[in-house]
């Protein structure tokens, strides 16, 4: 039972500001977390959530004047080691794992450092990591190299690493962005367990329903400023959204108004170890949602259409003509666009500026007499940034310096620029805040209504339900159900995603 002891303040921040050259990421933040509570940290993309926790972790030094109190003791300079020593453990938004080490080392490494080991105790590493994964209830090859794992599995490893620790405050920066709902449930179970043992948890997520189901209190940031803290029981989604964006956002089903003829026909395509007998078609003006559990083969399937993963058999018809793109360049020429799921490795050239990234897919159009017309390019990129409300709208800022959500908007903008016939988006709102999410949804809808055909792969069922016209559910590489979106419920989708309903139907 969380008693008086656990209700004690564990950490208190006062007057914390952080300025990067040209950006006030945090301004006079006041914030506290008690032991034995789960504290939600909410805010739009770029609100400063990640920056705040990097201050807690000792990765960023706050501007002078900040007060940080841990366990009642004032800490003047917080380094990563100091922060860990005082019991703060962070799961970073980008995982911060070691790609070339094995799973077991990734999990046990920081713990070994904490213990000031000089020699590696491989047995201990193995035991520790096994234990951590079993707490999470997942089965991952301990000796696999991290960079051979999918994003979802990497995220699980990052969580496992934090669980190894006997920490007092666990900070989780969007730990569920790549997880399936089953895995999320599992994680929540563990979080509740940790809470009951008196651990404080900071939980960052853009998925408000998730947040409401787990947090005790939540603090809202906007544009680097502290807006307020609420008890979960005493507030509702609408109030929080208002606090976040300063206005109310309604989410409702947006059906297509202008659905036309078939643009894309996928006929019985298969690829060994990727997907099997996939058949569907796509109409002009329609948004086709593809959902399913992580690892269902959705990404592999849509990549087949973009020339990244050509199928072994089957045919793809675009406007009635068979196509077989072998590379993204070919697919693009055919009028197919693809927003990949990993913006860091596949979406952006991080060290280049926003302008170069946004205009990369349409670079050729700025060519005149063999030369790129830079003024035109700048103009176009500013337009695109404004259209998607990228903040800040500085075309010359390095992509790496934008917040996660704004980076995602840049990737989306890059593909919108090509005005494709078929637009494929893979987890388009992964790590995107509610405001931006709605904007992206509206944009997709608008594009469809203007005559584009859209395929949206997403694990977020509310998103699927709110903007798709039709929904495909995939399960283990096959299409396991197709629905009209209108009137569809999350339960029916989950049923198809989780259960092998084909058996019943075939039998019936």
């Amino acid at each position: 039972m969380p008693g008086a002891e656990s209700a004690r303040l564990f950490i208190r921040l006062e007057n914390v500001s952080k300025t990067f050259p040209g950006v006030n990421a945090l301004t006079n933040i006041n914030f506290d977390v008690r032991g034995g509570e789960i504290h939600g940290l909410i805010g739009e993309n770029g609100a400063g959530k990640s920056t705040l926790i990097k201050v807690l972790a000792g990765v960023h030094k706050p501007d002078p004047g900040a007060v940080i109190e841990i366990d009642g003791e004032r800490v003047d300079s917080l380094t990563p080691t100091e922060s860990m020593r005082r019991g703060i453990m962070v799961i970073y938004q980008d995982f911060s794992l070691f790609p070339t080490l094995t799973v077991k080392e990734n999990i046990a490494f920081s713990e070994q450092i904490e213990r000031k080991r000089r020699l590696v105790n491989w047995k201990e590493v193995e035991e520790v990591s096994k234990r951590a994964l079993s707490i999470l209830g997942v089965d991952i090859d301990l000796n696999a190299r991290l960079n051979t794992l999918s994003t979802a599995r990497q995220q699980l490893v990052a969580i496992a690493r934090a669980l190894v620790y006997d920490s007092k405050l666990l900070v989780m920066d969007e730990p569920t962005s790549a997880l399936s709902s089953g895995e999320v449930e599992n994680l929540f179970r563990i979080m509740r367990d940790l809470r009951s043992r008196g651990m404080g948890i900071i939980f960052i997520s853009h998925k408000l329903d998730e947040l409401f189901s787990i947090v005790d209190r939540m603090t809202v940031l906007r544009d680097g400023m502290y807006i307020g803290t609420r008890n979960a029981g005493e507030t509702d989604v609408n109030e929080i959204i208002t606090m976040m964006v300063g206005r109310e956002i309604k989410q409702e089903h947006m059906g297509g108004t202008n659905i036309g003829e078939i643009v894309l026909e996928v006929q019985d395509i298969s690829k060994r170890g990727n997907f099997s007998n996939v058949t569907f078609n796509l109409r002009r003006g329609e948004i086709l949602g593809i959902t399913g559990l992580v690892g269902a083969g959705r990404t592999e399937t849509v990549r087949a259409l973009f020339g990244l993963n050509p199928p072994d058999s089957g045919t793809i018809l675009l406007e009635g003509k068979p196509i077989a793109p072998k590379s993204p360049a070919e697919a693009q020429a055919l009028g197919i666009a693809y927003v990949p799921e990993s913006r860091q490795t596949e979406g952006l050239v991080m060290q280049q500026d926003a302008e170069s990234n946004i205009t990369l897919s349409i670079l050729k159009t700025f060519q005149k007499n063999m030369l790129i017309q830079f003024p035109e390019r700048s103009k176009r990129s500013v337009e695109l940034m404004q259209q998607l409300n990228v903040k800040p709208a500085y075309p010359f800022m390095q992509a790496a310096k934008f917040s996660g959500g704004n980076q995602q908007k840049i990737v989306v903008a890059k593909w919108l620029a090509t005005k494709p016939k078929v637009l494929i988006v893979d987890e388009p709102t992964n790590g995107v805040d509610v405001g931006a999410k709605t904007e992206i949804h509206q944009l997709l809808r608008q594009l469809a209504d203007e005559g584009m055909a859209v395929i949206m792969v997403s694990s977020e069922l509310p998103e699927i339900l709110s903007i798709s016209d039709r929904v495909l559910v995939m399960r283990r590489g096959r299409i396991n159900g197709e629905f009209e979106a209108k009137g569809l419920t999350q339960e029916r989708i989950m049923e198809r995603a989780v259960l092998d309903t084909r058996r019943k139907e075939a039998g019936a």
Binding site: F98, Q112, R118, L119, G477
Partner: protein, 343 residues
């Protein structure tokens, strides 16, 4: 066990190993001398310096760095210790080795500090060090060889274990350099595999930002890598003097490319975090044996270069093609078995 074997077959080390076997078989078919104990020992002896240096380079490459100053550092070590021996007749091998390691350590430390504290890109820092050190050495020594070193160092260089005479006057046995190389191999392996220091280097090489976040002092780790390499070069330098019985300040020109080549051929990634002692060892063997095999196979000098280049390209292409193939055939989705029709 089976899993381990599978992992090895899939590893980069396996490709180098395979090419090595092919080279060895081809060479043996053309000239059985290749596989003779005496020949193998000779080749290992003359490449032990390359091998020891490659251990240092491996650690640097694991941090994502590179060292273009191998030549300068080796020259500095051999010339300074050579001068000492000539000037004073000093011939205590243990002290010489310690001195060599210290001198190499100093230049290595200099490189490390420039990279970690001044934030210079490794290639610049070490290219700079190399031209400065080589400039001074050449200016002071005028490229003059140091001859007539104490007999002890030469005798040490000739020492062989389990030596026996083969009747024609030459002694066959395990050269002392092979032992020295083996010790450095084990030492580096131990450092990288069993100590937290080594694991930290591997981790940092893979993701420096994460390393900082979990509280590793990446600056010190980087500095250490260059320091370690410097010490290895120091050790290699004295070993070299033992083999050659004299010091030639110009002996190592272009040697850094051999060392880098051997490490990378052994599967280490230039971006850091990935690479192994075993792989590097195989890389050194491949480097050493190709050239030896070609001479034994009576291939004309003019063709040797073309073949060596060709084999390097073949080895690395083979590795890449294998990787692509695996990637293509990898099962990404566990596909549901087909149709379970009504029963």
């Amino acid at each position: 066990m089976n899993g381990k074997l599978k992992r090895f077959v899939a590893s980069k080390e396996a490709s180098v190993f395979l090419i090595l076997i092919v080279v060895a078989v081809a060479a043996t078919l053309m000239n059985p001398t290749f596989l003779s104990f005496a020949n193998l020992m000779d080749v290992l002896k003359s490449n032990s310096v390359l091998g020891i240096c490659s251990m240092g380079m491996l650690v640097i490459i694991l941090t994502g760095g590179i060292d273009a100053s191998v030549c300068g550092q080796l020259a500095l070590v051999t010339v300074l210790t050579g001068q000492l021996m000539l000037g004073t007749g000093f011939d205590n091998l243990v002290v010489l080795y310690i001195l060599g390691i210290l001198i190499g350590g100093c230049t290595g430390l200099g490189n490390g500090l420039m990279v970690s504290r001044l934030g210079l890109p490794p290639i610049i820092a070490t290219l700079g060090t190399n031209s400065i050190v080589m400039g001074f050495i050449k200016y002071y020594t005028n490229g003059e060889w140091l001859n007539n070193l104490p007999a002890r160092i030469g005798n040490f260089g000739l020492y062989k274990f389990f030596a026996y005479s083969d009747g024609s006057g030459s002694t066959i046995g395990v050269p002392v350099q092979l032992l020295l190389y083996a010790v450095m191999l084990v030492l580096t392996w131990f450092m990288l595999r069993r100590t937290m220091l080594g694991r930290s280097i591997m981790a940092m090489g893979g993701n420096p930002v994460s390393a900082q976040r979990i509280g590793l002092n990446t600056k010190n780790l980087t500095t250490f890598a260059y320091l370690f390499a410097g010490c290895m070069y120091g050790f290699a330098g004295i070993t070299y003097t033992g083999i050659m019985k004299c010091v030639d300040p110009n002996a190592f020109l272009g040697f850094e490319m051999d060392v880098i080549g051997a490490v990378v051929l052994g599967g280490a990634l230039m971006t850091g975090g990935s690479g192994s002692v075993l792989g590097t060892f195989l890389g050194v063997l491949l480097f050493a044996f190709i050239s030896n095999a070609l001479t034994l196979a009576h291939i004309s000098t003019y063709w040797q270069k073309i073949i060596v280049g060709g084999i390097i390209l073949l080895a690395v292409s083979f590795d890449m093609i294998k990787l692509h193939r695996e990637e293509r055939l990898q099962t990404k989705v566990d596909i549901e078995p087909k149709e379970v029709s009504g029963e």
